[in-house]
């Protein structure tokens, strides 16, 4: 079999596949390497002209001779720098295109652009394809012929419209000219798809299967030239070919409406999802993640309900499936919600409604007469009622589905293992990052109207949900809980996790309550107030060293009895949902905030606070920023890193350091206790070892606290992990 491959083999480095005079300024996608493919079967007369025009536009042209018997194709294109492959026997256009794809792959081309050999297409239109290809290199681009009513016979127009319709039913994609042969195919896609049709019906099957695999179908305008009626050679046999098309369409439609998901090209290629029965949950998750947006699901649900309420005798399921497919909606959801309209309730309601509309009163007599003899009347009323009730129910159910799937979707994107999880892990976890804005707002409303008791009630359900259904979040408390409670019993571990999450939830609720309702709603007792007052009266200021335990906001508001301004070194993270609830409702906040990300970590302000004899509160158990200013100290048996800044400040200014923690002593009360006072002598210089003993004092105090109040400790990350 004589084969002649392109006389100028494409060198890998060459980027100007398209001749300069016809090229446009494209985005730099030099990886697009198109090969023009001209399948020919007995169109020898026009072939040379088409090849010449194609060569003017692109240097790489391949002719696929599908068993032509009218001319010697090699002779016809002699002298032209185009490639040629030949089938000895006619195998069909599909086979020719696939052969060309194989050649293209061998030559390292990325796309093939098929052009008919009969002169209908103008190769110059390739310029219109390129921007679309560059935009989405994986799309199949189909040229859309402009149809002038006068020159195109009706049968062609009908055929085209028919074909377009079926494509939409089968795939939900709409193309204006599904029968056009001027197309660009990505080689990778042709390679991947499993295509059966080898003859002209290939051109339909490839579009449908590609759309199922998630490939986009796009169209561009092209010009079309029809030779005079007589001169046109068509290989279309009306009866046999129509039969073949019908069979194909039936097969494809059935596959389309069967609610088994299709393999997705992109997802399978990059391995992000395995669609197989061996991994049902992963497949489902991938499907949900990829396919359905909340809007889509809601529309599907609404459609299902609407169609379900209509009296589509014997064809309801089929109608629902085909309509869902047409609009590219979820067949699962539509079928599912249509079950809500199973008799007797919805049909009865529809009939009653329709009856009322027609006769002004409700149908009260249910008998063989009204339902049997007058059956047709009832059906008519059913239709009327359904046209009113159906859309209403559809909107209602659709709305409910939308809201719920929106939440679900958000949770699922939270769950996506790699990136989001890692990012959240590396960043230090805060109590604020649990729950969405919506959830937070729901709690705020509860607090506003029901007080914190109401919120606690809802909290127990939410906490149960998190404990049982969100293992990723539940495990965040593990590093601490396993060191505090040395139990192996999984039930006990679950219980501990639950209790600490309830503790956290209550602390958050209390914090919000203080913000929304003001400090009068919380009783905060400071047992060691005298100690604090004495320390303050020394005149060097006071450092309050605290930790993420209890509720610091309660602690801060409890300090107003000291009658000294309090400043807090607090890291305000962006996305802090309840930011404005830090500030108390009305009135000035009882504390001011120093930003550790400010100039020099806020040290100048901190020193001034102490110099003025005021109180400075610093969290001693977490580090922001670099690990240089930390030192290692043992906590619950293993070393953690804590900042030595507070000790440095104490040493530099002579201010005493009081270790103070708060704990929840009742539904509406907190207690503040001073666990110890640390005095750091003026130690000059840098060595952090100098502060070791004082840091150890702090760690001991914290250990003593968690012994007494284990479920009030809220560091949900691995403090002991080496960074």
């Amino acid at each position: 079999m004589p084969q002649r491959i392109s006389a100028s083999p494409p060198a890998p480095g060459r980027e100007d596949r398209i001749k300069p005079e016809t090229s446009m300024s494209l985005p730099e996608k030099e990886e697009i390497r198109p090969l023009i493919v001209i399948p020919v079967y007995n169109h020898g007369g026009t072939l040379r002209d088409v090849v010449e025009r194609a060569l003017r536009v692109c240097t790489d042209v391949l002719v696929v001779d599908d068993g032509s018997t009218d001319v010697n194709t090699e002779e016809v294109i002699r002298g032209l720098p185009a490639g040629l492959v030949r089938h000895e026997k006619n195998r069909g256009k599909g086979a020719a295109i696939l052969r060309a794809a194989g050649e293209a792959k061998r030559l390292g081309m990325t796309h093939i652009v098929t052009i008919d050999a009969d002169g209908q297409h103008d190769p110059v239109d390739l310029r219109r394809f390129l921007p679309v290809i560059c935009e989405d290199p994986l799309a199949i681009v189909v040229g859309k012929r402009f149809f002038d009513r006068k020159t195109v016979p009706f049968s062609s127009r009908f055929g085209r419209g028919f074909s377009n319709f079926w494509l939409k039913v089968q795939t939900g994609s709409s193309l204006k000219d599904t029968q056009s042969g001027f197309r660009a195919y990505p080689v990778a896609v042709l390679e991947w798809l499993k295509l059966r049709e080898k003859r002209f019906s290939f051109e339909i099957e490839v579009l449908v299967r590609a759309a199922w695999a998630g490939i986009a179908l796009k169209d561009v305008d092209i010009s079309v030239h029809y030779p005079a009626r007589g001169a046109r050679i068509s290989h279309f046999h009306p009866l046999m070919d129509n039969l073949a098309l019908t069979l194909l369409n039936t097969r494809l439609t059935i596959r389309a409406i069967v609610p088994i998901p299709q393999k997705n090209f992109i997802a399978e290629r990059d391995g992000s999802e395995m669609m197989s029965f061996l991994h049902p949950m992963a497949s489902l998750r991938g499907l949900l993640r990829r396919n359905t947006s909340p809007k889509q699901l809601a529309l599907s649900a609404g459609l299902g309900v609407f169609l379900g309420s209509l009296p589509l005798i014997a064809c309801q399921t089929l109608t629902i499936l085909m309509t869902a497919s047409y609009f590219r909606l979820s067949k699962f959801a539509a079928l599912g919600t249509s079950q809500l309209c199973i008799p007797p309730i919805v049909p009865a309601l529809c009939i009653e409604l329709g009856h009322f509309v027609r006769h002004g009163r409700f149908l009260t007599e249910i008998s063989f007469r009204t339902l049997g003899y007058q059956g047709l009347e009832r059906i008519y009323e059913w239709i009327i009622g359904a046209l009113i009730l159906g859309p209403a129910l559809g909107v209602l159910i659709g709305g409910i589905v939308y809201v719920t799937t929106l939440q679900l979707k958000k949770r699922m994107t939270d769950k996506s293992p790699e990136d989001v999880g890692k990012e959240k892990d590396s960043r230090q976890w805060t109590s604020r990052s649990v729950g969405s804005k919506l959830q937070h707002n729901i709690f705020y409303t509860l607090i506003r109207f029901g007080g914190n008791r109401a919120a606690y009630a809802v909290l127990s359900c939410v906490a149960l949900y998190y404990t049982l259904c969100r293992p990723a979040i539940r495990k965040k408390a593990d590093p601490y809980l396993t060191r505090r409670f040395k139990t192996r019993n999984p039930l006990k571990k679950l219980l501990n996790a639950h209790r600490i999450y309830v503790g956290l939830g209550k602390a958050l609720i209390d914090r919000a309550t203080l913000g929304i309702k003001g400090p009068e709603h919380m009783r905060i007792k400071c047992r060691d107030q005298d100690v604090l007052t004495d320390l303050i009266s020394e005149g060097r200021g006071l450092v309050l060293l605290t930790a993420h335990v209890g509720c610091w906001q309660a602690a801060m508001s409890g300090l107003h009895t000291l009658n000294t301004p309090v400043s807090l070194l607090l890291h305000r993270e962006e996305g802090d949902v309840d930011l404005h609830y830090f500030e108390h409702a009305g009135g000035p906040a009882p504390f001011s905030i120093i930003d550790p990300q400010g100039y020099l970590g806020g040290v100048l302000e901190m020193m001034n606070v102490l110099k003025r004899g005021e109180v400075l509160s610093i969290m001693g158990d977490r580090v922001f920023g670099d690990a240089k200013s930390t030192l290692s100290v043992d906590f619950l048996g293993s070393p953690i890193r804590i900042p030595f800044g507070p000790f440095k400040l104490g040493s530099a200014t002579g201010a005493p350091i009081a270790v103070m923690f708060s704990h929840k002593s009742g539904p509406d009360s907190y207690e503040l206790t001073v666990e110890g006072v640390i005095r750091v002598p003026p130690e000059p210089g840098r060595p952090e070892k100098v502060f070791g003993p004082y840091a150890a004092q702090f760690a001991r105090a914290l250990e003593s606290y968690v012994q007494r109040h284990p479920y009030q400790f809220f560091n949900f990350f691995d403090m002991w992990k080496e960074n």
């Binding site: 001034n608 200013s629 030595f644 800044g645 000059p684």
Partner: protein, 84 residues
């Protein structure tokens, strides 16, 4: 000894910067971050030593920012306050 020289000497002593001599500290190099590479806790020391050796208090954030630009700025700040 000029103010600048005294500053450099004291900074090296108090901050226990072992690898550097007063001559090596550039007058206009930044103190924090690059240049001398001090951090926020060193700033605490500097504030303390300014008070101890020069009786100069850093009253506000703005003053501090200006003064801590470089040795030059620090010296200027100190000289200004000392004449008051």
């Amino acid at each position: 000894m000029t103010v600048k020289e005294k500053l450099k000497k004291i900074i090296i002593e108090e901050l226990k910067l072992e690898e550097i001599t007063p001559e090596e500290i550039e007058d206009d190099a930044p103190l924090f971050g690059e240049g001398l590479g001090l951090d926020s806790l060193d700033a605490v020391e500097i504030v303390v030593l300014l008070e101890k050796y020069f009786s100069v208090e850093v009253k506000s954030l703005e003053e501090g920012k200006e003064a801590f630009q470089s040795i030059n700025a620090l010296a200027a700040y100190v000289e200004q306050r000392q004449t008051q």
